[in-house]
């Protein structure tokens, strides 16, 4: 990809972000519930009407919509996403604090997924329509069908409650705390990817270069790992980018299930407490991370695929 295209893509990202910011701002504005009132009730206080009005004034909720949006956007551009209503801290610092745990969990589960999915997918493709293939296909069917929160609960039941190997919840980001949430995320993902790997490898195995390599006397092992796998991995990079995007947004269900201090958990808290600035900041983050990862994925083909780099 040329530098010009990259610049164009970055500009596109900015435009989309602007659109996203407007949409999230309007949606939260239109959503039922009064944040001023909520800020009292969350502390167990039932306020008088004048007290609520005072807070509304303080939060800027009395001004016209477009003014509110303009003020917010202006602040955002200066890096100030406002203060979280429920936590009384700047949104940016709240998000940043949760980012690291989510990053750790995302990469941990992604690596776990690859470790599981690649060998299984390869075996399944190489032994197509033989018992290892049927076994893997059965397992992947199970994997994509089981809801991940249910799988997480089974893990809790077995690993934490029965065998006492791991803590039930994961309030910190230590290795033992991350194992169960990561497994819960990795298991259904690896089932999905094992199928993708299988399909991609099967397709590559039918390519002429495999016949060529065999005719040159290369062993099946060398053909598979040095030639077929790198080719098969190419189309999977895009998928991997999408998965990474959704993982970096935080995976609400799993994080809540294990009380893991990540972004997904934070988003759920923000929503339940009508924390508008936090929700907006979070949604912008998701939009940004998806687009940036997409851009990175697209540019990465320059690196991985010489046909893209050299414009074949």
């Amino acid at each position: 990809m040329k530098v010009k295209t990259v610049v164009k893509r970055v500009l596109e990202i900015l435009v989309v972000l602007l659109g996203v910011s407007f949409l999230t701002f309007s949606l939260t504005y239109l959503a039922p519930g009064d944040p001023a009132l909520a800020s009292f009730t969350s502390q167990g206080i039932s306020p008088t009407a004048s007290e609520v009005e005072e807070v509304r004034e303080e939060m800027g909720l009395n001004k016209p919509f477009i003014v509110q949006y303009g003020t917010w956007l202006g602040n955002c551009l200066r890096g100030d996403f406002g203060n979280s209503f429920s936590m009384h801290k700047p949104v940016v610092s709240v998000l940043l604090q949760r980012l690291w745990p989510t990053l750790k969990l995302a990469f941990f589960s992604l690596i776990l997924m690859i470790i599981i999915a690649v060998p299984f997918g390869m075996v399944s493709a190489v032994k197509q329509n033989q018992w290892p293939d049927y076994l893997v296909r059965g397992w992947t069917f199970l994997g994509v069908s089981i809801p991940n929160f249910w799988f997480g609960m089974i893990l809790m039941l077995v690993l934490a409650l029965q065998l006492h190997l791991l803590p039930v919840t994961s309030p910190d980001t230590g290795l033992t705390s991350m194992i169960m949430p990561a497994l819960t995320l990795a298991f259904p993902m690896s089932a999905k990817y094992a199928r993708q790997v299988r399909t991609a490898v099967l397709e590559e195995l039918h390519q002429d270069y495999v016949v060529g390599a065999r005719a040159r006397g290369l062993s099946e092992k060398a053909i598979l790992w040095k030639h077929v796998f790198p080719n098969a991995a190419l189309p999977l990079i895009t998928l991997l980018g999408l998965s990474l995007g959704s993982l970096l947004g935080g995976t609400a269900v799993v994080e809540v299930l294990f009380s893991y201090p990540g972004l997904g958990n934070l988003a759920v808290q923000a929503i339940t407490s009508y924390d508008y600035p936090l929700i907006q900041g979070y949604v912008l983050w998701i939009a940004l991370i998806y687009m940036v990862i997409n851009l990175i994925v697209d540019t990465s083909y320059n690196f991985f695929d010489p046909r893209v780099r050299l414009g074949a």
Binding site: Y209, A213, R214, A215, R216, G217, P230, N231, R307, A312
Partner: protein
């Protein structure tokens, strides 16, 4: 050197080649001529133990220097392929990995059959490429398949196949993807190789003109059967079978003379 004895090849229940007989002597060039689907490619794939999918030799025997290759183990095949026997394909460019440099794959190939260090293997590859009169072999080594022209890719394919001076070259339509001028050059180069190293060549082609030009022996196939086989001159001048006669009459004539 290579002998097919009543070989029958089938994919599942589908018989593709029936009772195929062929005897290739050392240094001889044999052409197998026939239309698409006649089973000619299947024959040379069988010689290399590389039948696609569930293809298998269901009857007969294939002998290499008097020894049956059909019971070869996987390791024995790996030793034969690319070393004692090598194959040249119709589109050599498609036969190498598109995302790896030609040089890397050439070096990899040499190191599979010969305990050479990387640099020695590289030098050997460059030498082979220059023998095929490829200009700037270092650049070729540093290129991907899609960066070369059809003729260059074909020369790379032949250079690779020639690396270990195989006793037997199997060529599957080696020139049909090329323009006429390049075709002539490649054919001449293959014949030079044959003269210089006394390699046996089995060339599969649908081009009777090409077969007539280069072979000692011609086998005409149709629907999996041998229609006619024999010395080049016998086939060209005294064809017995109607199909062969038709094939011959289909070769274009120029000024009333047939240039086959």
């Amino acid at each position: 050197m290579l002998e097919f004895k009543d070989v029958t090849i089938q994919y599942g229940q589908n018989v593709i080649v029936r009772k195929f007989n062929m005897k290739v002597e050392s240094g001889e060039i044999v052409s197998i001529v026939g239309e698409s689907g006649s089973g000619k490619t299947t024959v040379i794939r069988a010689a290399l133990g590389l039948l696609p999918g569930d293809g298998r030799v269901s009857a007969g025997d294939i002998l290499l220097n008097g020894q049956s290759v059909l019971s070869n183990s996987r390791e024995e095949w790996l030793k034969l392929r690319g070393d004692k026997m090598a194959m040249i394909f119709q589109d050599s460019g498609a036969m190498i990995n598109p995302i790896k440099k030609i040089g890397d794959q050439y070096v990899e190939y040499i190191q599979v059959h010969d305990k050479m260090d990387k640099q020695a293997a590289y030098n050997r590859a460059v030498e082979m490429l220059s023998n095929m009169r490829l200009p700037d072999p270092d650049r070729v080594m540093n290129s991907y398949a899609f960066e070369l022209s059809g003729g260059m890719k074909q020369r790379v394919g032949i250079a690779m196949a020639m690396t270990f001076n195989p006793e037997l070259l199997l060529a599957d339509e080696p020139t049909s993807a090329l323009d006429v001028t390049t075709q002539a050059q490649i054919v001449r180069q293959m014949m030079e190789i044959n003269k210089k190293y006394h390699q046996s060549i089995i060339c599969v082609t649908h081009n009777l003109g090409l077969a007539a030009y280069m072979s000692d022996q011609i086998i005409v196939m149709r629907n999996g059967f041998i229609v006619e086989s024999g010395d080049r001159d016998a086939i060209l001048n005294h064809p017995q079978n109607l199909y062969t006669k038709n094939l011959l009459s289909a070769v274009p004539t120029m000024g009333g003379e047939r240039y086959v």
